[in-house]
Structures are given as C-alpha cells and as structure tokens.
Amino acid sequence: MDGILDNLLLGFSVAFRPDILLYAFIGCLVGTLVGMLPGIGPLAGVSILLPATFGLDATKAIIMLAGIYYGSQYGGSTTSILMRIPGEAASVMTCIDGHAMARKGRAGAALAIAAVGSFVAGTFGVIMLTLVAPPLASFALRFGPPEYTALLVLGIIFLAYMSTTSLLRTMLMACTGLLFGCIGIDVMTGHFRYSFDIKELGDGIGIVPVAVGLFGLGEILSTPSKTVAEKISPPKFRELMPTREEWRESAAPIARGSVLGFLVGIVPGSAHIIASFLSYAVEKRISKTPEAFGKGAVAGVAGPESANNAASTGAFVPMLALGLPTGPVIAVLMAALLIHGVPPGPQLVTEHPQVFWGFIASMYVGNLMLLALNLPLVGVFVRVLQIPYAYLYPLIIMFCIIGVYEVNHSIIDVWIMLIMGVLGYLLRKFDFDPAPLVLGLVIAPTFELSLRQSLVMSNGNWTIFFTRPIAGVLLVISGVLLALAAASWLSRKDWRSNLPAEEADKP
C-alpha cells in the first residue's frame, strides 16, 4: 500500500505540471464536445485527434486522448437529456428517463445528477484502477506465449458473450478483424500476405484508418442531415440544483452503477454500453416503483450514467496491466502508446512509471475538471449543438482525412478509410456491430505470434495450452462461456432478453 501511495505521489507530481494540466483540460473539453455531437463518437474522436499528439511526449499524448475518451462519456448525457439524441451509444439509456425529466421541466436536475454520478463513478473507477492494475501487472509478468494466446482467446469469447448483438455476428466480426490483421509481411517467415503488390500494405492495415472509417465515416454515411434535430433549450444555471428528494433517490443507483460499471468495464466487449444497459435493468428490477421508469425516474439517469463512466475507467485495467484492449477505443489508445514508443502491458508499471502513474493521477484531476466543465458550462456546450449538421459533417470528413493521412503520410491509408466507411455503412444495414472487427485487428499480431511461438516451443504439441496452469484455467473459462453463449443462442434466450424490449433493440 505504501508503494502505491508513493507511486501515486509521483503520478500527481506529473499530473499537476501546468503543461500536463493543459493537455488534460484540452482532452476533457474536446471529449465533452465529442460525446455531445451526434455522428462522432469517442472512437472517431480519439482516432481523428491521434495525429495531433505526434508532436507530444507519450505522457501528454495518452493523458489527452484518455481525457477525450472519458470526457465523451460525460458529454453524451447532455444531448441525451436535452434532445433525446444519444451523442454516443452508451448514453442511449439516459435518453429514456433523462429526456422524460427534461419534459417535466427537470432538465437541469437530470444534467446535475448525470454529472455528479459520472464524477463519483469515474473517481471510484480510478481508485479501483490504482489498486487493481499494479498487482495484476505483476501477476501478468508470469505470462508466456501460451498464456497470452489463452488470454486473447478468452478476450474474444468474452466479447462474443457480452456483445449487444448475437454470438455469431460478433464472432464473424472478430474473425474478419483477425483476418485483416493477417495482411502484410509475416513477421516469422517474411512472406507477403494479401498485399497485392501494394507496398504500403506490407506493414499491414493500420488501426486508425479502419477505426475512423468504420465509426467516423460510416456513421456520417448513415446519418442524413435532415434526421438530426436542431432545436434545444438549455436550462439556466439556477435550475441545475436537484431537490433533496432527487439527491436521495440518486445516491444508491450511483453507488450500484459505479461498482457494476467497473466490474463490467474490465471485461472485453462494448463494456460501457453493456454497463449502462445492465444498470438500467438492475435499477428497474429492484425499484419499488418500476412503473416510473420511462417517465422520468431519477434512478434511470443516475444508474446508467454512473455505470458507463465507471466502465470506461475499468476498461483501462486490462490495457495497462495486461496490454489487452477491451474495446476499440482502448485499442486506439494502445496504438497511441505504441506510436510513442511505450508498449502497454505488464512492463509499463516498472519501465515507464511516469507514464503509468502520471496517467492514473491525471484521471483524478480530469474527473474534477469534467465536473467543473459540464455543469456551469452546459449552456455554452449546447450552443455548439446548434451548429447545423449540414456544416458539421463536412468538417468531420475533413478531419477524418487529415487524421488518417497524417499517421503515415500515406494516401493508401485514406483509401482504406473510405473503403471501411462504406463497409461500416453496409454492416449497420445488416445489423453487425463493427467494434469486434477493430478489436480483432488490434489483437491479431499478438495472437498470431503467441500462438505460433507456443506451437514452436512445444514442438507442435497443442496440449501446451492445457498443461500450463494459467493458460489451462483461461481456456476452461473460455470453454464454459462459449458453451453458455451457444446454449443461449440455441434456446434463443440470453441476457439481452432480460432487458425491456425497447432498450434491447437500441444500438
């Protein structure tokens, strides 16, 4: 414990540097805007702004990009409550009761409860991250290739099990992503794979063009401007204070949402989305007045908002401790660290303590900044929403092109982004979630390398994955989850069916 406190002090000495504070603030501000604006989610926001961090050191870059990520979870609630438009998918649940509260003239209270819930959950998540990540990283130092292979298999199976779409669809997307990850030179034999004499493809397909294409451009292609509402009336500052009764009703859902969100967050998958759905379902289930849900229940805002913020923080645990991405945004953040020469994973704590602890400490500060930003400045942010979408999306397309081109100064990357944009549009038409594809692409090199290294070191004996205790346990868990998921699929009844029908259908 003393060691953690000493390290945290080191982190705060980094996080309180004026230049670091500035980048954390920029990240939180941009993240809030990204979360509010329909058509640009946290993934597109982080990906598009990744090139803007090239001139920074690794600590500033990751602090700014992470600020965009968790800032977007705060910002998403504003559009959900005021306009019934979720700025990003995790805010879908907030729309239901948040907007109902707004229609009753309690928009200010709903925004305040969402912001305070997000702050409490975010801070709880960071405390847990501080306590859990370092010991987990020490444990992960025992991992060899078979353990990493098993861990990545478990990650994919978890993703399929927890996904908001079906098992088959998620597995198909993950499989496609892994296959995309095979493009380029094979690191073990030097063979060119699927590069079709295009030399730029020798290095493989980058995460940024795929992520920006699927989530940034793909979203724009399927959002005609006439579908985006433009009329909103922000609450006045004095209307932001909830009543004593509203505070009382929100306390327990915030606490439950924080714990539930963190636990769901460390599991691979669209954690913050699932966490908000689960929290809503839990609150409705245990409520003494379930009929109030959908009509402006305070718990329907407090629970999901807290859960999605805690989950966003929880998602950093596997990234920092194991080098395992739990979602596409985390994958892009990992790519950012790699670009800056800092490999995420167990060695991060020991080899780059300034980055690790500076990053964690900055999240405490970032959560405070977001609370200060989101409540008093809600009126200012809402004005940004009044920019007509007809001007906004051309701007986003321009930033997509700049962002992707600047990573490698490669026009091929920009073409890949356009192709992925069309693919993202088509995938939405056929009800596929593109997130597992990005995740598959990210883990593909590590997965292939550790799988082949395991087979080489065991002289082709595949039982190595079961005879080593850690790998064996991970694979047994994978098998159980797969069996459960398959059983749910065959009986056409899984955890999603426990959600109310209108929520289960939402993206």
Binding site: P51, A52, F54, G55, L168, R169, M171, L172, C175, T176, L178, L179, C182, D186, M188, T189, H191, R193, Y194, L217, I220, L221, S222, T223, P224, S225, A390, Y391, Y393, P394, L395, I397, M398, F399, I401, I402, Y405, E406, H409, I411, V414, W415, L418, G421, V422, Y425, K429, F430, D431, F432, F447, E448, L451, R452, L455, V456, N459, G460, N461, R492
Partner: protein, 146 residues
C-alpha cells in the same frame, strides 16, 4: 430471402475468395506453423460462422425490409470524398479540402452560396494553420505550391 441469408452468403463467398488467393501461402506444420496457417483457419471459421448465419436466417427480417432511404445521401457524400482523396496529394490540402467542403455544403446540402464559400475557405485555412503551424504536422502541398 431473409436478411441473414444475404449476410451469411456474403461471408461464405468472401471466405471462399480469400481462400482462393491464399493458395500460395505455406500452411506449415504444427511444430513449424507457416504464414498461411492462421489465415486459413480463420477463413474456415468465417465460412462456418457464415453458414451458421444462413441456417438461422429464418428468424431475421426479410431482406427487402432493409431501409436504404439514406443511400442517396451516402452516395452524395462518398463520391466527392473519393474525388477529394484522389486529388489530395496533387491538388494539395488547401485547394482539395476547400472544394470538398464547398461541394458538400453548397451542392449536396444546398446551403446559401454566401455562407458556403466563406465557410469552406475559412475552415480549410483554419485547419491548415492549426495542423501546419501550431501542431507542426505538415499537410500535403499541391502542384501549385500550396
């Protein structure tokens, strides 16, 4: 014909095509896995999952129910974006992006000329200043030198 018949069929055909172009990749053996081992295993899995989707397609909505109402908008956006990317390195950032923004706001979105022109030029110049001068990440210059 159901939605998942189409989706599953596309994955099966795509898998078969990728398998076809994977012929020259050595599969290797278990003690010495080749460059083609993982791709071929993944293609097999993809085809199997695609077949699973087709088999369970009965529960999915009819294929003709997929809403394509946003397709004209998508085409109006993606075609000029492709044109802009084609000319990005030869036309340069300033010219290409100003033209793209103008086309999307004035032609596609039918916004007033007097707003579309300053918006396109102003935003492009601002973005150029931000990236080239402040963030020091050079943007492409065209054959005209800017």
């Amino acid at each position: 014909m159901r939605r998942d018949h189409v989706a599953g069929g596309i994955f099966i055909v795509a898998g078969a095509l990728v398998l076809l172009v994977s012929q020259d990749l050595p599969f290797g053996t278990l003690p010495s896995p080749g460059a083609g081992m993982l791709p071929v295993l993944l293609i097999g899995l993809m085809i199997a999952l695609g077949a699973g989707l087709v088999l369970g397609a009965g529960a999915s909505p009819p294929a003709w129910e997929i809403a394509w109402g946003d397709l004209p908008h998508a085409l109006k956006v993606i075609v000029p974006a492709c044109a802009a990317v084609a000319f990005y390195t030869t036309g340069g950032f300033l010219l290409t992006m100003a033209c793209l923004l103008f086309f999307l706001t004035f032609v596609v979105e039918r916004r007033p000329l007097l707003i579309a022109v300053p918006f396109s030029v102003g935003v492009t110049v601002l973005a150029h200043t931000l990236f080239s001068n402040i963030l020091k990440t050079p943007l492409p210059r065209g054959v005209l030198g800017f």
